[in-house]
């Protein structure tokens, strides 16, 4: 669940900066976690989180209600991840084998976690819009209502995306005989 962020954005430059930092820092763990699992690596999580921070700072004037900062920033993070996932569609996916330890990029906590279960690999085959919904649902523990709010989507769309994502995953797992019956 999202932590409540109730620090009012002040009007002076100095206060604005401090308040922005306070608001963002409260959201960084969740943002980093979502980006890491969605994008499949700590380095991409690092990049995406920073990009989201920069976008948020640029667009902070759009935020009229500071109490909504968590959801607002979460939407930016989701969109950054979506953009990156979508732009990846034209390339080969990188398959990470279990237990890879070669330096310098091995032992990435996100990659390790995703590689541990076939589901973690199959998620990356889903369309980006479905990946984002799956990530928010299972890795950010948001309710469907919260996801709808976060993505500015109708609840029905969120439901259908999750439905189709789970259906695809089940089919993929069925093909590999890895679903318990």
């Amino acid at each position: 669940m999202e932590g409540a962020a109730r620090v009012a954005l002040a009007t002076t430059v100095r206060d604005e900066s401090a308040d922005f930092v306070a608001l963002v820092q409260a959201e960084l763990p969740g943002a980093y976690r979502l980006a890491g699992y969605l994008l499949g690596g700590a380095e991409d999580a690092d990049d995406a989180t920073c990009e989201a921070v920069a976008r948020a700072w640029q667009a902070r004037g759009k935020l009229r209600d500071p109490d909504r900062f968590a959801a607002w920033f979460g939407r930016i993070v989701s969109n950054v991840c979506y953009d990156r996932l979508r732009q990846r569609r034209g390339i080969r996916t990188i398959e990470i084998e279990d237990g890879m330890t070669a330096d310098p990029v091995a032992r990435d906590p996100f990659r390790d976690a995703l590689a541990r279960d076939e589901v973690g690999r199959l998620i990356r085959r889903l369309p980006p819009d479905q990946q984002v919904v799956v990530g928010l649902r299972f890795w950010r523990d948001l309710s469907l209502d919260e996801i709808a709010e976060r993505l500015d989507l109708p609840l029905g769309t969120v439901k259908s995306r999750l439905h189709y994502a789970m259906r695809s995953l089940r089919k993929d797992l069925d093909r590999q005989g890895k679903v318990s019956r």
Partner: protein, 800 residues
């Protein structure tokens, strides 16, 4: 209702999904916190150019953080326009002048929904709606797109036809004379478990496709691009478990799609990692990272040993033909990664923040216009060789020709609004937008002004409706409450597992939903006791609701296919002439005077109809959208919808109800004494309504409410032993609640939700008690239908 094995599989899958992230949570690197500080201070912080690894994937638009930092001051002064409506912030010093209008560029897009006409229904790729894949390309006077894994062609962007026999492609690139296709996602040349994966394809006409032997085996295809005459692929070897992005790449080039040659490259290019290739009007450009301790860029990351970093330079190489490469300096305007879009007057990179353009594809200058205000939200670009389209959040669209000028396009047309979250492609004469499972075509217009927001107008296929007369008053005889039920009678052909039952003029219709991928089951009954199955082939969809419509009955389905059907006898069903309105996912209610339902997707509004069979209208709820609505009921002279709205305290929710006497205009009532909650269901009795509420975060215990009119609500105070989590149902006359209490099945009924009467049960209830988790109850005109997954029972009601 899902079968047990389906539920088990879902639970297994969901638990596996959760387990992925149940390891100790990765800690946010300290440099990210440092970056936050530096951004907010408006100065370049210690994070500086020493960034974590940026993997320059093909098509990835990588924002260069130092530039972002430098631009933050400017960003504070921009005029922010979002979502088609102009939000003007207080002007700040140094606010840039308004973007000039360019009369020679497109000025607006007139949008139309082309889903129904663009794609032959019999050939549509999936019941979930139309979703265009990676690319829409303009080639030889036509268009090609991958849709649902299949290749489609069009001459105008508005009518499409499947290309029979084409392979499943992940992407298509075009040279002047031939097409290059990429199979689905797998390493090229490596063993694969999927038929079309790991393949590359060639076609001279877009119809006949030939598989091409990759010039490398076991390597990863990390990037590719096409020019007018050639295609270049970059391949990296897989070495000992390392990320191929950190391996050197080798370019291969082909001028015919069939034969490939290994390129000759300079020494530094041969050792470059993180490589990416793109094409400009002059040829090909590869960007890559060359490790060098004296480098001005530091790529970093974290591993089990902690943080690591590698210094080096971002380098570029150019080749006119893809074969011979030389070092290239695109100049300081170009960021770390190149992604070039071709326009009629030049090439352009992303117009956001650091947009640059080039007349010759070699020399780059900053754009006249930057679109930093669109940096939040979805960013997407496409080009058709003439126009370059930028899609920002909203969506809002900006067009350019590659000469550094960008023009925001106004959105007009005959749809209410464009759904968010879609993707767009520019094609000759317009823009194709794919969102919410539907496809829209925006016809480009030049030199005219349309309203800033889309015209208020019909959404999808449904027109906005008139304000109707209030529901005609009807003379209802006072309803008699029930005092008990007769001996339970098992119905051998009853609607086992039914999740909704509707009473209508000539009997009852019951619907059972199916697991994903299945189809609904529908039964018809003249009296609630004898039931007959309706042929399954009649309907599409795996979920449905059903409601009375006077002398007819209406069924709306969703999931695995939307549809609306009407029947005058409950047996023969006819698809509604309104086509495929996205009704679903919420209750639908009606009687002979009118019907109300909730759109499922994409516009998400209420729809209402006088008779449910021919004319439907859209309407909205003042101050809310239909996704605030959870349930609808009808009793007497009013429809009542319930859900939730933001509470009086910031950040909270409150239960909300809306009432309407005609289905078209609605009034809201907010229940302010239940902060943090939302109504989740409503049931109608003859003299009042019952609703349940739950904490809006989805957890917690439900609360039972009642209302005489749907507007004023209070918590039910009753000695009835049923909790709000019992099984409830209402048919507009009787509200029924049942639960297993103290090991016995206990049922109560009410006409108003306030006064409840216990209904003693007769007969064997053991099977109902055993199946309590699947038990549903439905009040019929003269009794109660008890439905479990395996059986159906009827109890005749005794009236007071």
């Amino acid at each position: 209702m899902k079968h047990d094995d389906e539920l088990d599989r879902d639970l297994d899958l969901e638990s596996r999904m959760h387990r992925i992230s149940q390891d100790p949570e990765p800690q946010v690197p300290g440099r990210v916190y440092t970056f936050v500080q530096s951004v907010a201070s408006g100065a370049e912080g210690s994070y500086g150019p020493a960034r974590s690894k940026l993997r320059p994937l093909a098509g990835t638009r990588l924002l260069r953080m130092p530039k972002l930092v430098a631009l933050t001051g400017l960003a504070a002064a921009v005029v922010l326009a979002v979502a088609g409506t102009l939000l003007v912030t207080t002007p700040r010093p140094n606010e840039p002048a308004a973007t000039p209008r360019h009369p020679d560029l497109w000025s607006a897009l007139e949008w139309h929904d082309i889903t129904a006409t663009a794609f032959p229904a019999s050939s549509q790729p999936g019941s979930e709606g139309i979703t265009i894949g990676t690319s829409v390309i303009v080639w030889n006077g036509g268009l090609l797109a991958d849709i649902g894994g299949s290749l489609w062609s069009s001459t105008d962007g508005q009518t499409w036809h499947p290309v029979g026999g084409a392979p499943a492609l992940d992407n298509v690139l075009a040279t002047k004379d031939w097409l290059f296709g990429i199979g689905l996602q797998c390493p090229v040349g490596s063993p694969s478990t999927c038929s079309s994966e790991g393949s590359i394809w060639h076609s001279a006409d877009g119809v006949a496709w030939e598989s091409v032997q990759a010039p490398f085996s076991g390597d990863f295809l990390v990037s590719y691009a096409a020019s007018n005459t050639s295609v270049v692929m970059l391949a990296s070897p897989i070495t000992s478990g390392s990320d191929p992005g950190w391996s050197p790449t080798t370019p291969y080039v082909s001028s015919d799609g069939a034969t490939w040659a290994k390129a000759t490259v300079p020494a530094d290019m041969a050792g470059a990692t993180q490589a990416n290739v793109t094409s400009t009007r002059a040829g090909f450009v590869v960007s890559g990272f060359v490790a060098d301790p004296a480098g001005d860029i530091e790529w970093g990351g974290e591993n089990a040993s902690g943080q690591f970093s590698v210094k080096g330079f971002e380098r570029y190489w150019f080749s006119a033909d893809g074969l011979a490469w030389s070092t290239y300096d695109p100049g300081p305007a170009v960021g770390q990664a190149m992604r070039v879009y071709r326009g009629s007057l030049g090439d352009a990179m992303s117009p956001v923040l650091d947009g640059v353009h080039s007349a010759d594809g070699l020399h780059w200058t900053l754009d006249e216009t930057n679109l930093s205000q669109d940096a939040v939200g979805m960013i997407q670009e496409s080009s058709d060789g003439t126009e370059i389209l930028f899609q920002g959040e909203g969506p809002v669209f900006t067009i350019g020709l590659g000469d550094g000028r960008w023009q925001r396009l106004q959105n007009g047309g005959d749809i209410g609004s464009l759904p968010r979250g879609g993707q767009s492609w520019v094609v000759p004469g317009g823009v194709i937008y794919d969102g919410g499972g539907r496809v829209y075509y925006g016809k480009a217009v030049t030199g005219m002004t349309v309203t800033q927001t889309l015209h208020p107008g019909p959404t999808i296929t449904l027109p906005p409706g008139p304000t109707l007369e209030p529901l005609p008053s009807i003379s209802l005889a006072p309803a008699a409450g029930w005092s008990g039920l007769g001996v339970l009678q098992k119905l051998p052909d009853g609607p086992s597992g039914a999740e909704s039952v509707a009473a209508w003029a000539h009997g009852y219709v019951a619907v059972r939903n199916a697991p994903a991928g299945g189809k609904i089951t529908v039964w018809n009954s003249p009296d609630g006791r004898t039931w007959t199955g309706v042929p399954a082939a009649t309907f599409t969809g795996s979920s449905a609701v059903v409601a009375a419509a006077g002398d007819s009955v209406v069924l709306a389905s969703w999931n695995d296919g939307n549809g609306v059907w009407v029947s005058a006898d409950g047996t023969d069903w006819t698809p509604s002439p309104i086509g495929k309105p996205p009704i679903g996912d919420r209750p639908m209610v009606g009687d002979g005077r009118g019907m109300v339902a909730v759109e499922d997707d994409p516009q998400y509004q209420l729809v209402y109809s006088g008779n449910g069979s021919d004319t439907w209208y859209t309407t909205t709820i003042p101050g809310a959208s239909a996704d605030n609505v959870q349930s609808i009921a009808l009793s007497g002279d009013r429809f009542v919808a319930v859900g939730r709205m933001p509470g009086t305290s910031s950040g909270t929710w409150a239960p909300a109800a809306w009432t309407s006497t005609d289905g078209a205009t609605w009034k809201q009532s907010l229940v302010s004494d239940a902060p943090g909650e939302g109504f989740v269901s409503i049931l109608a009795g003859r003299n009042g309504f019952v609703a349940t509420s739950k904490p809006a975060n989805g957890g917690g215990t439900a609360t039972l409410w009642s209302s005489p009119d749907g507007a004023a609500w209070h918590r039910v105070g009753t000695s009835m032993p049923l909790g709000p989590d019992a099984v409830f149902a209402g048919d507009g006359t009787h509200i029924l609640g049942c639960d297993v209490v103290g090991g016995a099945l206990s049922c109560w009924s009410s006409l108003d939700g306030e006064v409840w009467t216990s209904l003693p049960l007769q007969g064997d209830t053991s099977q109902l008690i055993a199946a309590r988790t699947t038990l549903r109850v439905f009040p019929l005109r003269d009794g109660v239908l008890f439905v479990t997954a395996d059986g159906v029972w009827f109890g005749q009601a005794a009236a007071h």
